[in-house]
């Protein structure tokens, strides 16, 4: 072996570098920039081999469900103003996340939603009236979680993160290849249960995708008060969990990134964390006043990044959608909203005696006593009405 002067110089003690093993944390880190496959104006960006674009028919369905989802959201807001819902937390502007995420999982997979995921749940095919039961207030969870493989919408923040880990582990333990998809918002990543959930999932290699919709505000508190991390996706590395960040208003990118994350989990490689950068266009709920903590210019800037318009522009340019198809989908959305309106305008029947039915599998003697007391009260009130 001959030695060149340069090689000697490289090997000299003063300049020689010690050979360090590859940093195990590096492979867990997200891209420095959010993954984006469509520009804000809907033009395609260079294709990425790591995030292949979903097939055209899937994108068409993504668009259709986003349009229906937005119409659902608008209708729910209107129903709230009419007093039909007690409260409604809108996810307008987050259609790419809401719909893209649920399209990435199978019907047999489990979804763990929060209160802001009403749109995601209707996109998953759950009856919208059952989805809105919680907010109408005739019961809590309106759908059967075991039928639709969807946990009740979670109001206590981040607590669903550990449920998702446990369910995914339990399913794997029983030989099923179920993936759990846990939704969470930016504010809830400050809660302990987010950290405990992702840590449990990692330790047990449970097939969970944690999907953070960073919509920039936890009611009024901005992201800067939740974290000093470069981005929320960086919270994966400390738990040994790979992560990615994605433009949450790019529906194609959201679906592509979630599809890869779900495949990672299903392949037995453990949990995956995705942070989607998006924006809550509406106040926290109808009861909130967003003008007290953010200015209109900021909201307007995000209006220009509308995910529905972005996908529509792209699919038109690709020839996947034309005027007729768009009109037909818009008609479907109107019909969907009209049916929802009709059904929600019917006064739901509630039965006070049912309050005692599901506290336990069998009511305790004390609950039976209380049920009889309520029954007597109702009978007395009924008799009084009869007298009047």
């Amino acid at each position: 072996m001959t030695t060149t002067p340069q090689a000697v110089r490289r090997a000299s003690p003063r300049t020689r570098r010690t050979v360090t093993p590859p940093d195990p944390a590096r492979s867990l880190l997200p891209d420095a920039e959010p993954v984006r496959l469509l520009a804000e104006n809907g033009t395609p960006l260079p294709a990425r081999s790591d995030y292949p674009e979903p097939p055209a028919e899937v994108l068409r369905e993504l668009y259709r469900r986003m349009v229906l989802g937005r119409r659902f959201d608008t209708q729910a807001t209107a129903l709230t103003k009419q007093g039909r819902l007690a409260v409604y937390p809108s996810s307008r502007g987050q259609e790419a996340c809401q719909v893209g995420a649920v399209l990435a999982v199978r019907d047999t997979d489990w979804v763990f939603p929060t209160y802001r995921e009403s749109m995601a749940l209707v996109a998953r095919g759950i009856d919208p009236v059952e989805v809105l039961t919680l907010l109408r207030g005739d019961w809590h969870c309106g759908y059967d979680p075991t039928e639709v493989h969807t946990a009740p919408q979670c109001t206590p923040l981040a607590t669903q993160c550990v449920h998702a880990a446990g369910l995914a582990h339990g399913e794997a333990y029983q030989g099923r290849d179920t993936v759990a998809l846990a939704f969470i918002g930016d504010g809830a990543t400050s809660e302990g249960d987010f950290h405990e959930g992702i840590n449990f999932a990692a330790v047990f290699k449970a097939p969970v995708v944690y999907f953070v919709q960073n919509n920039k505000y936890a009611i009024s508190v901005p992201l800067s008060r939740q974290t000093a991390a470069p981005s929320l996706a960086y919270k994966g590395v400390g738990y040994g969990v790979p992560s990615e960040q994605v433009d949450g208003n790019d529906p194609v990118a959201v679906l592509a990134v979630l599809t890869r994350a779900v495949a990672h989990a299903r392949a037995g490689k453990g949990p995956f964390l995705v942070e989607a950068h998006t924006y809550r266009m509406e106040p926290h709920t109808n009861a909130d006043d967003a003008t007290r903590y953010r200015d209109g210019a900021e909201v307007d800037a995000w209006r220009d990044r509308d995910p529905v318009a972005r996908l529509e522009t792209y699919l038109r340019a690709r020839g996947v959608l034309d005027d007729a198809a768009i009109a037909e989908i818009a008609e479907q959305a109107e019909a969907y909203a009209a049916e929802l309106r009709t059904r929600m305008n019917e006064q739901p029947t509630v039965d006070p005696l049912s309050l005692f039915d599901h506290v336990y599998a069998e009511p305790t003697p004390q609950l039976i006593e209380q049920r009889e007391q309520v029954r007597a009260e109702l009978a007395a009130a009924h008799a009084e009405e009869g007298d009047a």
Binding site: H140, P145, V162, T178, G192, G197, N199, P365
Partner: protein, 333 residues
């Protein structure tokens, strides 16, 4: 055969694991170590690491993980290492474990057993001796069970694991290593039944968990004073057995409720109120409570002042209007 409550609980877990593949046992140090009180001793070796395993050190995580596993059809039995260490899990317990059945109109049940070694009398340093039963008993949707005898520990734990509802299973630490004759396996009275541990005619002592041996000892000592006391062991705080306790107090006409937890707003207060509501015309005296002091659990060298012992019970019995005179204790008030 003489055995301890710790061994009876261990046998109950082993028998439950053997009887039902859906049962899994997990928590902190429950694997190779067998738990800090050895309640899970040998279970991992016998049933494998999938069925009895250690978790990260995070109580909310443990209970939340159990919720998810129960949703997948399993029957998790989790250990909280000590009473006060279960507090981080309280949100999971109160908002999810207790409510999921009701929230979903019965569609989703989470039959989890949360084992909580509780109460004091073991010389433990702070945060190791809390009596936390009232927090759970005050939460509709939970069953709250606490054994006082060796064979009941076995029977109640087996029933808890088979129960369709979540059960907070509270194990009195100071009774873990007390030994008694017990032939296991055994099945005693079901949930919702209190048991008369000692019949008597003059007054009823109602107790649960670590207070039951105190009540029995007090009843024995009371014979010398000429009182024949009945002792009722509540066993399951939820569901609560009004019937047995009411029947006993109607017979005796006098009642003292004993608990180790601080008395204010405690389970004993609830029991006293229920007895008074149901037995007013049979009562010869107000229902009295003997409880721990309303203080944070004291340091080991002071715990004997806090714990309700035989003397305090006998003092209360002495105040049960035997001579129909105003209670001197309230005379100044």
């Amino acid at each position: 055969m003489a055995t301890t409550m710790a061994k009876a609980l261990n046998t109950a877990l082993a028998d439950a694991l053997a009887a039902d593949d859906r049962v899994v046992v997990f928590g902190e140090d429950v694997g190779a170590l067998g738990g800090v009180f050895r309640i899970t001793d040998g279970l991992q070796a016998r049933f494998g690491e999938n069925r009895c395993f250690d978790t990260p050190l995070a109580e909310a995580g443990i209970v939340g993980f159990a919720v998810g596993m129960a949703m997948s059809g399993l029957r998790p039995v989790v250990e909280m290492q000590f009473d006060a260490f279960a507090y981080p899990a309280f949100e999971q317990i109160a908002s999810h474990v207790a409510k999921l059945r009701n929230r979903t109109r019965g569609a989703l049940s989470v039959p989890i057993v949360i084992r909580v070694p509780y109460a004091g009398g073991i010389g433990g340093v702070e945060h190791h001796c809390d009596s936390s039963e009232a927090y759970y008993a005050h939460t509709p949707g939970l069953k709250v069970v606490t054994p006082a005898t060796v064979d009941d520990a076995y029977s109640l734990l087996r029933e808890a694991i088979e129960d369709p509802d979540p059960v907070v299973f509270m194990e009195p630490k100071k009774l873990y290593f007390a030994s008694a004759e017990a032939s296991l396996p055994t099945r005693n009275e079901p949930f919702g039944r209190a048991v008369v541990r000692r019949p008597g005619r003059d007054a009823t002592l109602v107790a649960y968990g670590p207070a039951v041996p105190v009540a029995l000892e007090a009843a024995e000592a009371a014979r010398e004073e000429g009182w024949d006391l009945e002792v009722v062991d509540v066993r399951t705080i939820v569901p609560f057995d009004d019937e047995t306790i009411t029947a006993s107090v109607r017979r005796t006409g006098r009642c003292v409720v004993i608990q180790e937890a601080p008395g204010f707003a405690g389970v004993g207060a609830e029991i006293a109120a229920r007895v008074q509501e149901r037995c007013f015309h049979a009562l010869h005296a107000p229902v009295l409570r003997v409880a721990g002091l309303d203080i944070p659990y004291p340091a080991p060298m002071l715990e004997h002042t806090h714990l309700p012992g035989v003397d305090r019970v006998l003092d209360a019995v002495a105040r049960l209007q035997w001579d129909d005179q105003p209670d001197a204790r309230w005379a100044a008030a």
